[in-house]
């Protein structure tokens, strides 16, 4: 009876998970040669040279920018960055490894320690990191039609490998860690961290133990998970599989497994009959990597304010709700945009080029909360509908334009609904809100005299509705208000329209 995985088994065991994440760095060229690091854009084997093909006599030269990006990643993750480090050779034979060894780091990684704050189901947690090191990517194997071909475009692209301690306890937590990590790496601009293209790849190590048992169980490695959903699903599957195994009194095999997306299960990986002894030793083709203090300081200075700090500041400085702060920091472009909107003069006036709309006080400044609401609501919806993001639309919709629109709505010049429509056109054409409003006559009609005249006309033109109203059919009031809205092309303030109709009915009754 192997299929059944009774829930009691799951409850008896604690899942322990650690992750190893490979992250491609965004550099123009590869880690150790001048080949372009745009593997995905190029035809196979068109981004190669003697160095990344491992030809005889070829020598590596480290890419300083890749080291800089790795250092920034390490700093953002709170690692201790080691100024004296070195590259080492990791030896194994496989067709994806042109030199028969991978240039990596082992005994002296670039970064050690550090960690990442990860919220799981609303609870704050922390995942400690073991290490962060630099290495070169391997070639890509393409299996098709019974053949395996090798594309060396990817060979030598700079990677950092980020290894956690076994601090995660559930598939959701592992998924949350990957999501948080991906967000951070994108935020600091060191990687596209796109899992679909392989720019971020996850291996998970997992084991089960009885709750309360201090010792870890037998570790199973699941390699190359290429989506967060796969991380979650593979771990959930492994938890069930291993629990069933332990419940039957069997030992869990120490092995490497692969995730079969279609079948929804993990399977033992073949080709691992060769026990791996990587025989690390210092890479003699490269001198030790020594990072001068001044250079490290530059890298620290090059880091933007990190997401957690940014969220905290948005809440503290602008009085946003934490959930809005989170939405606004979904990427750095959005957070920057939000603050740029707040910083424009337009946020306090309906239109910087227009005269204030009347004697006395101008419209009230649009508060941060309403700018936040405009971005997370109408703007996100409009971007989503168009398949755009904030960074892409910033030229068409400079922060001052959105600030002006928010102020127009806040000061009652246009209704919120009109504002949303105007926003769409602003995104599409780059026009200013005021120009669209003026061109289309969209300004809200709330002049009391106008409304009074329109309401009297509607009442006079609809004697039946008036009679029904007087007979107690209150629904007729809505009909009459609708008449006013129609006559004003929906630009009347609905409350003012209602007031005008009620007053017109009173006057007609009295007259």
């Amino acid at each position: 009876m192997q299929a059944a995985h009774p829930p009691s088994d799951l409850d008896a065991f604690e899942l322990v998970v650690g992750l190893e994440t490979h992250v491609q760095l965004v550099t123009a060229s590869k880690m150790f040669c001048a080949c372009a690091a745009d593997a995905d854009l190029a035809a196979p084997n068109t981004r190669t040279c003697p160095v990344c093909l491992g030809l005889p006599g070829a020598l590596p030269v480290p890419n300083a920018h890749a080291v800089a990006l790795a250092v920034r990643a390490a700093l953002a993750l709170g690692c201790t960055v080691h100024a004296h480090t070195r590259f080492e050779r990791k030896s194994y034979h496989y067709p994806d490894l042109p030199k028969g060894y991978q240039i990596s780091q082992y005994t002296r990684p670039l970064g050690t320690g550090g960690g990442l704050d990860v919220d799981v189901e609303g609870r704050a947690g922390h995942v400690r990191l073991e290490r962060l090191h630099i290495e070169e990517d391997t070639a890509r194997l393409v299996h098709a039609a019974g053949e395996t071909r090798v594309d060396f475009n990817r060979a030598g692209i700079p990677l950092v490998e980020i290894v956690t301690r076994p601090d995660l306890r559930s598939p959701d937590a592992a998924a949350a860690y990957v999501e948080t990590l991906r967000h951070l790496l994108r935020w600091i601009g060191v990687s596209t961290a796109a899992m679909a293209s392989g720019a971020l790849r996850v291996d998970v190590n997992c084991s089960l133990r009885r709750f309360g048992d201090p010792a870890l169980g037998t570790k199973v490695e699941i390699k190359n998970l290429n989506s967060i959903a796969a991380v979650r699903a593979a771990l959930a599957y492994e938890r069930r599989r291993q629990a069933a195994c332990l419940a039957r009194g069997e030992a869990v095999a120490h092995e490497t497994r692969g995730w079969d997306e279609a079948a929804g299960r993990t399977t033992p990986q073949r080709g691992k009959e060769h026990a791996h002894d990587y025989r690390y030793f210092p890479e003699p083709d490269l001198p030790p990597l020594v990072l001068p203090e001044a250079w490290l300081t530059e890298q620290r200075a090059a880091l933007p304010e990190l997401p957690a700090a940014r969220r905290g500041r948005l809440v503290a400085a602008h009085g946003l709700r934490p959930e809005d702060a989170r939405l606004l920091t979904r990427d750095r472009a959005t957070a920057d945009y939000f603050e740029a909107v707040l910083a424009t003069d337009g946020a306090t006036r309906a239109d910087p080029e227009a005269t204030p709309p009347g004697p006395g006080a101008g419209p009230a400044p649009a508060p941060a909360t309403s700018v936040a609401a405009w971005i997370t609501g109408p703007l996100f919806a409009a971007l989503y509908a168009r398949g755009l993001d904030v960074a892409a639309v910033r030229n068409h919709l400079p922060p001052a334009h959105l600030a002006a629109l928010v102020a127009l709505v806040a000061s009652g010049v246009v209704t919120a609904n009109v504002g949303k429509r105007v926003l769409g056109e602003m995104i599409d054409t780059g026009s200013r809100a005021r120009d669209i409003v003026d061109r289309d006559g969209l300004a809200q009609v709330d002049d009391a005299a106008d409304l009074r005249r329109i309401a009297e006309g509607v009442v006079a033109a609809n004697p039946k509705a008036v009679a029904d109203y007087r007979a107690g059919k209150t629904a007729s009031l809505g009909f009459l208000i609708g008449g006013v809205m129609k006559a004003t092309h929906a630009q009347a303030n609905p409350d003012a329209a209602r007031r005008a109709v009620v007053e017109a009915l009173e006057r007609s009754a009295g007259g």
Partner: protein
């Protein structure tokens, strides 16, 4: 000197590089004529010597004609139009590069090795590619997949190795000079056994780019030449920073030719260190006598003898065969038959690897790959590779301490003269001990030179002169003075 294997007087191939350049400058010789003279000697003598694996006669004639045109256009340079050859582990675009191995039989590289590129830029003319021990692993040239080169002084004997073809070619006047590589003595030992000058520069002085790697932390390219002045001229052409070799030194290159030219005959004030360990058991008495005589010649020129000790040098061979083999085990992992070179197809990947490497590599290479793999293996890593790297630091410290008390260290290059082919092939340890006096210097990374110091039993003996890091000018100066006071053939010919 009599009994040598040289070109007869009057044959331009008998000239040194400097002598040939002077003749070309004077208009009494063209590069075309000189190149033809060398090609004629190669055709006549190489079938017996097997020094060349590839002769690029057509390319050589074209390059010679180009050099003559450059000279006619007013250009000059110490190596312009001078024919030379390369140990076959320098990559040459469009010309096969075998590293002495079946594994690379038929491999044609896309790029020129950096030292070769610099020689070509200087106008030197490539005659071809020279025999060597397979992947430079050997001390006799007998591990070459293409049969050993032979010693021009006695074709029944080894020219030494691994740059055996280079030493034989220079000794037999089959080229004006050659470029070799020295990982544990592979320039100096064959130079000594063939009676030519061989210089291993300081590690980092010459770019390693385009050298088929044996042991990356030890490999260094250098000249084999007919005399000390030529060695200096070649070093000047190939030395200097290469940004594409991260281990090449970014420091100014002194004018070595000028240091040699200014050498004179006086070594007054110079301290020569004589290490006790280099005159111990295992040194052939006739070699010892020749080297002792050379030391006395140096003293006669004004140098002061200082007794020194290199106590850890007794461990040098053991350390070397762990460090070099460990690095080699990784460096040679790339020869898997998937992208280039020899391939033995098999449906099973691991069988394919095993068959390709099993058939492609020779016995000595396999022995060293296995040894190096073992030295790096889990459980043995620290005891072997780890300890070897620690002792390596002590060996370097020995040199530093000694070189604080003297300006150069002198001793024999090889414990014996040229040995018979086949004499040591059955005993790897005896073969490894051929390099007992040269290996320590590679582990330290410092420069050393072998200069002929007479004959023993009719075979050449080499005097080794070792210096401080970047101390090539001093090493060359001492060697030049020795060459002059000893009145050897090469100096007479220059």
């Amino acid at each position: 000197m009599t009994g040598g294997p040289h070109a007869p007087p009057g044959d331009p191939a008998a000239l040194t590089a400097a002598g040939a350049a002077r003749a070309m400058r004077d208009g009494t010789l063209t590069s075309a004529a000189l190149t033809d003279a060398y090609l004629a000697r190669i055709a006549a003598h190489d079938p017996h010597l097997n020094a060349y694996l590839t002769v690029t006669a057509d390319d050589a004639r074209a390059q010679a004609a180009e050099a003559d045109r450059r000279r006619a256009a007013g250009e000059d340079g110490p190596l312009l139009g001078v024919p030379f050859a390369l140990k076959d582990l320098f990559t040459t675009a469009g010309i096969r590069t075998t590293a002495g191995s079946r594994m690379l039989e038929g491999y044609v590289p896309p790029d020129d090795a950096e030292p070769y590129r610099r020689l070509r830029a200087a106008g030197a003319v490539l005659l071809g590619k020279l025999n060597m021990d397979e992947f430079a692993m050997g001390s006799s040239n007998e591990s070459s997949a293409f049969g050993p080169a032979r010693n021009p002084w006695d074709p029944g004997r080894s020219p030494g190795g691994s740059s055996g073809g280079a030493a034989a070619a220079v000794a037999a006047d089959l080229c004006a000079f050659a470029l070799g590589t020295d990982t544990g003595g592979s320039i100096r030992q064959p130079a000594a056994l063939c009676g030519v000058v061989g210089l291993k520069p300081t590690y980092g002085r010459v770019s390693r780019r385009g050298m088929v790697a044996f042991a990356s932390s030890l490999d260094q390219a250098g000249p084999l030449a007919k005399d000390v002045r030529d060695a200096a001229l070649v070093l000047d052409a190939i030395a200097g920073h290469d940004p594409a070799d991260a281990t090449s030194a970014d420091r100014p290159v002194p004018d070595h030719a000028a240091a040699v030219a200014a050498a004179g005959a006086d070594l007054g004030g110079l301290r020569i260190g004589v290490p006790a360990e280099y005159f111990a058991d295992g040194l052939d008495p006739a070699v010892r006598a020749a080297v002792e005589a050379a030391v006395m010649d140096l003293e006669a020129a004004g140098a002061r003898r200082v007794a020194i000790s290199l106590p850890h040098s007794v461990y040098a061979v053991a350390v070397y065969y762990l460090v070099a083999t460990a690095e080699a085990s990784a460096n040679l992992a790339r020869y898997d038959g998937l992208r280039y070179g020899r391939a033995v197809p098999d449906d099973d990947l691991w069988a394919r690897y095993a068959r390709t490497r099993g058939e492609g590599f020779g016995l000595e290479v396999k022995r060293r790959i296995v040894l190096g793999t073992f030295a790096l293996s889990a459980g043995y890593h620290d005891a072997y590779y780890g300890r070897a790297t620690r002792v390596r630091r002590r060996i370097r410290a020995d040199f530093d301490a000694a070189l604080a008390r003297c300006d150069v260290i002198v001793g024999p290059t090889s414990p014996t003269t040229a040995f018979r082919l086949g004499e040591r092939t059955g005993d790897p340890l005896a073969m490894y001990l051929s390099d007992i006096y040269t290996i320590a210097l590679n582990l330290a990374g410092y420069p050393g030179l072998s200069v002929p110091c007479g004959l023993a039993g009719g075979l050449p003996v080499g005097l080794q002169i070792m210096g401080r890091p970047w101390g090539e000018p001093t090493v060359l100066r001492v060697a030049r003075v020795y060459e002059r006071v000893a009145g050897l053939r090469a100096a007479e010919r220059a």
